[in-house]
């Protein structure tokens, strides 16, 4: 049997894999941005316990956090076209598969980020709110200038973990035909008849990205510590 692993083949795979990095980044960026926007809304629903919406949000979060992402991918990929046809008579089977993949990750991130935001806001002591009122700030001013910065600092570690987890979770997108890093690794393996090498190269790329993300957010976290220190002194 031929060589199982070759450093030369692994290094050759790097530039080819990087061609598909944009697909991975697209999934992560869109899912994170929309997750932040709609996750904030979800957090507000849960924090204020808005009737009916609170119950719907709770069920939604339980489903999204309680099921593997692969199930959610399949549910969206096969379920959304069926739903669209039955409810609107619209056939969306020909839509780009990346739309369905990104939609699944967006729905997943809305739940996770929503809970991160809710936890972060709850982590800020009540005394901070009272202090804001006591110096004559309005509710909105207190939230924007006092609560939100501290909530961001409190939620940053969890958000970092979620972001790194999302990057790794995109590795399942190839199952539905997306040519992300893992999809590209499989193609290289098919063409070269050596699957191990591109997977090693893909693993290295993922590790580098994860380390860079943790380093960057660690720096932001430290900067927040400094600012927080000034507010209190």
């Amino acid at each position: 049997m031929g060589e199982f692993f070759s450093l030369e083949r692994t290094i050759d795979a790097f530039p080819k894999l990087l061609q598909s990095l944009n697909v991975t980044f697209e999934i992560v960026i869109v899912a994170t941005c929309l997750g932040l926007i709609f996750g904030f809304g979800l957090a507000m629903i849960r924090l204020f316990r808005l009737p009916v919406l609170y119950q719907i949000a709770s069920v939604y979060i339980s489903f999204m956090r309680g099921t593997p992402i692969i199930i959610q991918l399949y549910v969206v990929y096969y379920g959304l076209p069926m739903l669209s046809m039955n409810l609107f008579g619209l056939n969306i089977n020909s839509w780009d598969k990346l739309f369905f993949i990104i939609t699944a990750f967006v729905l997943n991130e809305i739940a996770f980020i929503g809970e991160i935001i809710r936890g972060a806001i709850l982590a800020v002591p009540v005394s901070q709110t009272e202090a804001g009122y006591s110096v004559g700030l309005t509710g909105l001013q207190t939230f924007v200038h006092i609560i939100l910065p501290q909530a961001v600092r409190a939620g940053l570690p969890n958000f970092t973990v979620d972001l790194v987890s999302l990057f790794q979770g995109t590795s399942l997108a190839f199952l539905l035909g997306a040519v992300d890093i893992i999809g590209r690794a499989r193609m290289i393996g098919t063409n070269t008849a050596h699957i191990f090498d591109p997977y090693v190269a893909a693993a290295v790329i993922f590790i580098i990205i994860s380390v860079l993300l943790e380093f960057a957010f660690g720096k932001i976290q430290k900067k927040g510590d400094v600012v927080y220190g000034r507010i209190h002194s």
Binding site: M1, G2, F38, G41, M44, I45, L47, F48, R49, L50, L53, Y77, Y78, P81, M82, F88, N91, I92, N93, S94, W95, D96, K97, L98, F99, I121, L122, V124, P125, V126, Q128, T129, G132, Y133, G139, L140, T142, F143, I147, F174, L175, L176, G177, V179, G183, R186, M187, G189, T190, N191, A193, I195
Partner: protein, 284 residues
């Protein structure tokens, strides 16, 4: 909720806007044309037919070094597309099992990845009637004296073989075990990649594999294997591979069959077989 200080009416307004944006964004974000995916052509525009193919099944369907989707199945579909102006084939790459799932849910209307006929598939999908290529499968083992005189599965009772999920080998072994409970053969289920077949057999995770001559030639060449035996006397059965269709696409199947027959008659299928498999394995 004590630490949040936004007033409830403000939040209600925000949430209403958020729900409106969420619902409206569900309807508006398409990345491709809104062409009809119907098997019934009408009007002057060709009907777009979504077709499922693999992208990591060399040389049946794969993406080459230049990023082009090619392979025997893919090139046959492209040739069919040229012969059927009433259709425009939209080749969508996906995993092998997803082709079957997509056919079952009408996400695609046709699929091609060397599908052999079996009764289970025939219940769920519509098979083409013109063969894509000959797919006679044989037993392949390591070069071991215990396998020297085998003539079929009966000589391998109690042994194990590799079966990919949803693949035809799984159906073959299930059927064999039902009919021959005293000569049961064990299945080891895997993703069914070329690496699986080569590694599992070479590392004796399985005792034998079932494959056709095309795959035997390719795997032994690609993976530098020199200790396999292709048991020509141990044919599993005569078989062909076919294009699969969504259950109701009778007209589409008939049109595809007519085109495929034309490609067979004019030698195009044989030419593609030689290009991708090194030999003419087509059915005449």
């Amino acid at each position: 909720m004590k630490s949040i200080i936004l007033r409830k009416p403000t939040v209600i307004i925000f949430v209403t806007i958020f729900m409106a944006v969420l619902l409206s964004s569900c309807g508006g974000n398409a990345n491709s044309s809104s062409s009809e995916s119907s098997g019934d052509p009408s009007g002057s525009d060709p009907a777009v037919i979504p077709v499922g193919v693999c992208s990591t099944a060399k040389p049946d369907a794969y993406i080459d070094e230049d990023g082009k989707l090619t392979g025997y199945d893919v090139e046959v579909l492209k040739a069919i597309d040229e012969l059927l102006p009433q259709y425009e084939l939209d080749l969508q790459t996906m995993e092998f099992s997803e082709i079957l799932n997509s056919l079952a849910t009408s996400r695609v209307l046709a699929g091609s990845q060397e599908f052999e006929w079996n009764a289970e598939r025939a219940n769920t999908y519509l098979f083409g009637e013109v063969p894509l290529i000959g797919y006679n499968t044989f037993i392949i083992t390591l070069d071991d004296p215990q396998y020297e005189n085998i003539t079929g599965l009966a000589d391998l009772a109690g042994k194990s073989t590799l079966a990919s999920q949803g693949g035809s080998v799984e159906a073959i072994i299930n059927s064999w075990n039902e009919e021959n409970p005293d000569k049961e053969i064990k299945k080891v289920i895997s993703g069914g990649t070329s690496e699986d077949y080569v590694n599992f057999l070479n590392n004796r995770v399985v005792d034998f594999i079932i494959a056709n001559e095309q795959n035997f030639v390719r795997w032994t060449e690609d993976f530098n294997v020199d200790n396999w035996v292709f048991h020509e006397q141990a044919k599993i059965y005569d078989s062909n591979s076919y294009i699969l269709f969504e259950k109701n696409q009778v007209q589409l199947q008939q049109d595809f069959d007519d085109a495929l027959q034309e490609l067979s008659d004019n030698g195009k299928l044989a030419e593609l077989s030689i290009e991708f498999y090194g030999k003419d394995y087509t059915v005449h």
